[in-house]
Symmetry: C5
Subunit: 332 residues, 5 copies
Amino acid sequence: MIRVLRYESGSSSPTEIDVDRAVLGARNTLLWFDCDDPGSDDLDDLGRRLGVNEFVLEDLRTSGQRTKLDHYSDHFHVAVHDCEVHGEDLTTREIDVVFGEGWLLSVQQPAEASTTGDFPMDAVRQRFEAQCVQHDAADVNLLLWSLLDVVVDRYFVVTDSVDDRLDAVEAVVLDDAGDEDVSLRRRRPRQLFDLSKTIVEFRRNAMPLREVVAAVLRRESGTVSDIALVHFQDLSDHVLRVSELIEAQRDVLTNLRDAELAVVSNRMNRSMQQLAAWGAILIVSTLITGILGMNFRNAPELDWGEGFLLVGGIMVVTSVPLFVYFRRKRWL
Amino acid sequence: MIRVLRYESGSSSPTEIDVDRAVLGARNTLLWFDCDDPGSDDLDDLGRRLGVNEFVLEDLRTSGQRTKLDHYSDHFHVAVHDCEVHGEDLTTREIDVVFGEGWLLSVQQPAEASTTGDFPMDAVRQRFEAQCVQHDAADVNLLLWSLLDVVVDRYFVVTDSVDDRLDAVEAVVLDDAGDEDVSLRRRRPRQLFDLSKTIVEFRRNAMPLREVVAAVLRRESGTVSDIALVHFQDLSDHVLRVSELIEAQRDVLTNLRDAELAVVSNRMNRSMQQLAAWGAILIVSTLITGILGMNFRNAPELDWGEGFLLVGGIMVVTSVPLFVYFRRKRWL
Amino acid sequence: MIRVLRYESGSSSPTEIDVDRAVLGARNTLLWFDCDDPGSDDLDDLGRRLGVNEFVLEDLRTSGQRTKLDHYSDHFHVAVHDCEVHGEDLTTREIDVVFGEGWLLSVQQPAEASTTGDFPMDAVRQRFEAQCVQHDAADVNLLLWSLLDVVVDRYFVVTDSVDDRLDAVEAVVLDDAGDEDVSLRRRRPRQLFDLSKTIVEFRRNAMPLREVVAAVLRRESGTVSDIALVHFQDLSDHVLRVSELIEAQRDVLTNLRDAELAVVSNRMNRSMQQLAAWGAILIVSTLITGILGMNFRNAPELDWGEGFLLVGGIMVVTSVPLFVYFRRKRWL
Amino acid sequence: MIRVLRYESGSSSPTEIDVDRAVLGARNTLLWFDCDDPGSDDLDDLGRRLGVNEFVLEDLRTSGQRTKLDHYSDHFHVAVHDCEVHGEDLTTREIDVVFGEGWLLSVQQPAEASTTGDFPMDAVRQRFEAQCVQHDAADVNLLLWSLLDVVVDRYFVVTDSVDDRLDAVEAVVLDDAGDEDVSLRRRRPRQLFDLSKTIVEFRRNAMPLREVVAAVLRRESGTVSDIALVHFQDLSDHVLRVSELIEAQRDVLTNLRDAELAVVSNRMNRSMQQLAAWGAILIVSTLITGILGMNFRNAPELDWGEGFLLVGGIMVVTSVPLFVYFRRKRWL
Amino acid sequence: MIRVLRYESGSSSPTEIDVDRAVLGARNTLLWFDCDDPGSDDLDDLGRRLGVNEFVLEDLRTSGQRTKLDHYSDHFHVAVHDCEVHGEDLTTREIDVVFGEGWLLSVQQPAEASTTGDFPMDAVRQRFEAQCVQHDAADVNLLLWSLLDVVVDRYFVVTDSVDDRLDAVEAVVLDDAGDEDVSLRRRRPRQLFDLSKTIVEFRRNAMPLREVVAAVLRRESGTVSDIALVHFQDLSDHVLRVSELIEAQRDVLTNLRDAELAVVSNRMNRSMQQLAAWGAILIVSTLITGILGMNFRNAPELDWGEGFLLVGGIMVVTSVPLFVYFRRKRWL
């Protein structure tokens, strides 16, 4: 379905019109075509009426574009990727935007996973209309900004979620009290790997947006009004902040993985020391039983009672100091 | 063998002509020489007739060029590498393209491995002729685009195959249920190494194509028509996407290798804990048999029946709690 | 609360005035608005009177800006992050500076952690007034410099603290005398991780300041007097020095972590050698007791006295050389 | 000894003349001074007659220059490093080239190791004369090209040798059949380290040649004829290919080292599992002998014959299933 | 103390004069002020007379500058760091140079460690005077060059020392004959870490000199005579060579550390195999003693003599083949 909204400078709210009745080229008017069904023939027809390049039309039909800003004779193609976190998975959804003088066509590609919610196009509309009222202008670049700004705001949700997961894993990795559940510990490599995968995937989708916004700031996307420029400068700050956060998270994850290795090594070392300490403590007792089990002729004729006490005493006397010794060295 | 196709603007399909009858310099005509036998003398003769530089002629005879765009007085030399995956191996095949005003010579070098199939030159022809019809122009740059586009489409097949292998290895590495076949596990370092080798090799062949396409976009390869420019812009997006995918795969592989190390460490730790736990459980029983094996005079005159029951009972009483204890700590 | 100071060229000390009475645009006069309560309505009112852009006003209300220099029509927005170390934690506080011809508005955002002390705005004032007196000019860029200079001086405190912690951890990691407390050793992964986190966080906040200062030096922040330029050049040297120190500390930390891994491996190796050595020494004695415990008919009729001595002698004769041997190899 | 060759345009072969009789400045004449004895006074004299800068003269006397192109008033100094592999060692030899309008002085420094063969200056001469004949010009840049081309061709020999060693080590590392000789395995860290050292050394010598050739292509080395430019473009392709190969080899080596670590970890894990499995199998039998060794009064009066059979039977019955179990888990 | 030397063009040796009598601005005269006592008031006075900027004066008083070239109205400030190796420690000493038309002020800051010798200012003087004589000009840039050249020559001493230490550690790490002293091995992590610290520190001090020399070559330090330019070009080559050496040493160190890890893993593996092999050999004998220690009624009535021989024989027959087997597998 394609929803068409017509904005006019001076009027505070848009008129919703039919696709077929949309007339291009009217002055001070902005037509926003929003399509959430990229496979339809309607989109093809509309694209041709708008004079959209064949390559772009083909790109609109399916997802699979990288984040980019492409320039065609009189229109531009921006592809961005909306990111959402569901549990431990990052799902992305491509959004294609084609725009020219006085019109903008946004196409939401289907999300990778069926669990992903809809992209909040209403939030984009709200943000844009607030700007329209304030600046009394239905500027196509402001509409593009509204959309990208919503996308970037959602990136911050992703970085927050990654931060939470990093904190959770860090708590498990480093709080090595020893009473921790072993099965938890065994799940840690998977957790760390899933996190790293989320970050790699997120980075691949979010990072190139820097270049898109920078291109708009360099006015490579046609004439950009001063008001829109200020908006894009603010957006650029946000995008750069997301980039810096991702890079920092990558670093933290790397450090966490190194810490995990060190913790595992320490723990293995400890197991081995416990093994060694107990072995040392018991070896003496074993030796004694062995000696007294030997078949001598004139054995010292020990009574069971005294003998047992004596042997037990020797065992205690040799074991306890060793135990205390290892306890002090904290091997036990 | 050299196949020659003559395209004329306005005509929808090419004429296949003989090499010797090919006349250069006709207006609105494009001659495509396609050679799949780089060692032949025919190629040398043709190259000289086309005025191809001596260095290029030498390069055409054997493979061994890096991916590049070289500029000679009135013609250009593009070398690309077609990549294919066979099982776990990546095989590459160099394709040399020399082109000038009104003609293009494509030379397929023999593939590295004999198992590699032919390069689908027919797909190139189909793609080019579709464009010819649409834009009514037999543009040499469009022919170059068709060829590179087919090459890049095949790169996506490689990245898909790498993705599948990454997923397969990931499943084995992280699904550490413990009932896994040990011989499988021992093959994992080789699998990871083979994957990394594929990625290194693929990267070395695919990455430089970015610069070739960028050079065309900067019009370093002579005059490029606007139509061709749009095609190359689209191609550039594809090449950049391949690059981003490769980089992401490299990152995932690195993370996977770290996960593998952590999993192996954990498993070793676990083996050691099992060893220690069983040792602790059995040491008590061993000590008891040792004590009762000692030769005392007035031993407590235990009956075999009762004695055995008693000793067995003590063994169970000391072992079971230990077993339960280690079970709870999940050491067993 | 907003404190307003009016500096006039020629006068050595400022006049503190009321916000509402502050008049902009007077020649040779500099108004410094210092606000430590970013949520107040007063700040909004003031911002509007100063003609500050809406985006900047919104940014001033809450923290969350990256370190940056933004350019608006007739004013500039600089965001920096003051860093402090408390124990093992790095806390940061964002300081926003908006300035135009003849006025500067500094807004201290609340610190991340409540334990953080106030930002020493008085030191800024002192530094600025010293410069005012010396150069007899109330230059807004000199005020900006004073603030940034104080921030950067405090960065050096952070790098010093990181250096101290690096030295402390290094001493523990490498001084592996063996009598070291095991619980200390077990805390080391956390120490290393905490250090790495501090460095990542500090780097993310401090590094972008380089670009801000470089932008001022390229005179992107309006007209900068020659006197101010010299100040910013000096500041730039300091910022670069901080950057170099952070990078060096990152390297040292990485090396330290590698050293830690090697030390742990060596120690584990040693534990295993001790285990093996003791096992070898005792195995002979165990074997002897086993042999003499066997039930033969015509056993050599050894007397307990002689027998025990003999057996003990054999044990000593076989164990001592082994002990000496392992001692020499330094396994024990 | 200094060999002097005089090339004249139009003449196919050079005249060998005496150093003292060499006259500079003749039109269409190229003088090639080739010196293989850098310490001699003759070289000093010649350098002064050629007007070579004092610094260059000093550089010529001993080796120790980095690969570079330096520009002096009317002459240029190029230093390159010829690389050769002997067994596992990379030896390098510096070759200094000073050239101006109509003359070129090549100085071969002594090789680092005495086992290194001579640099094939005759191959350079052959390559140059072939070009002279073809283009009928004794161009100094063509002579420089000939020399660099021979050097780069020899680089390919080095990369081939590194490839062979990588393949050999890879086969040993990953072909972990278990029947491999332990002493071989113990030599692997050294092999990997030697390879890495070769690559580091080779990279340091070969990589900067890219910049030298790029500088010639940017015509920073005086006027370069079109013919020479095409030659240097071809050379540039070769140098870039060497660079790409080295980088790929570095990556493969890194991956190989990671694979080695994983293989070693797996093997250690396996040793531990074997240890644990055998221990588990034998512990039962040990326990039985212990129990039956106890001194009870009314022991079950087992006959030796039956008893031994019974006990042996129990041992087999308890051991074989365990053995089969571990065999199936592939621990044994 | 401040030593003042006055050089005049045409005169071969300088006149040593008193600070107070030094007159600036004389044509063809160069005044060199050399101060080794940066805290003194004399330096302040001199600085003011020379018109040195306040910031620079402050910088001269204490060390703590990064390597840099700063430009002030009519003079320049260069800070470099002289490096020296004492045992395993790298000590650095900052040298500040301020120079303008006709004068140069060099200030030696105190070295970090008291064991550091003096900076050889006499070598600088010698080098400069040799150049003065040769070019008959007392050029301030030549004096700067002399100083930097001495500093860089001393850098080569440091890289040589690092090379020696790398070789020494390499010999210990890789010459794993097994008879090596264990305490030596335990010191290796510290040696590797100390080396890495030296390299990090050296790199931080030496690397930025590249930019300083490059700035001089771009004539950013005022007018530089052609003669001086050639000198700085030579210096630039030396600095780049130092950089390349440091980078190569970093790579070698990383590789060495990886080799160390592999060696340690291998050795641990070997210890475990020895343990396992001895265990396997002895377990059979232990089992035999256990069996024959059991209390059966009609035991086979073995004589001690024969019995012992028989049992011993069985033990040998079962142990020797196992020993030979493990010996062949090189586990023992």
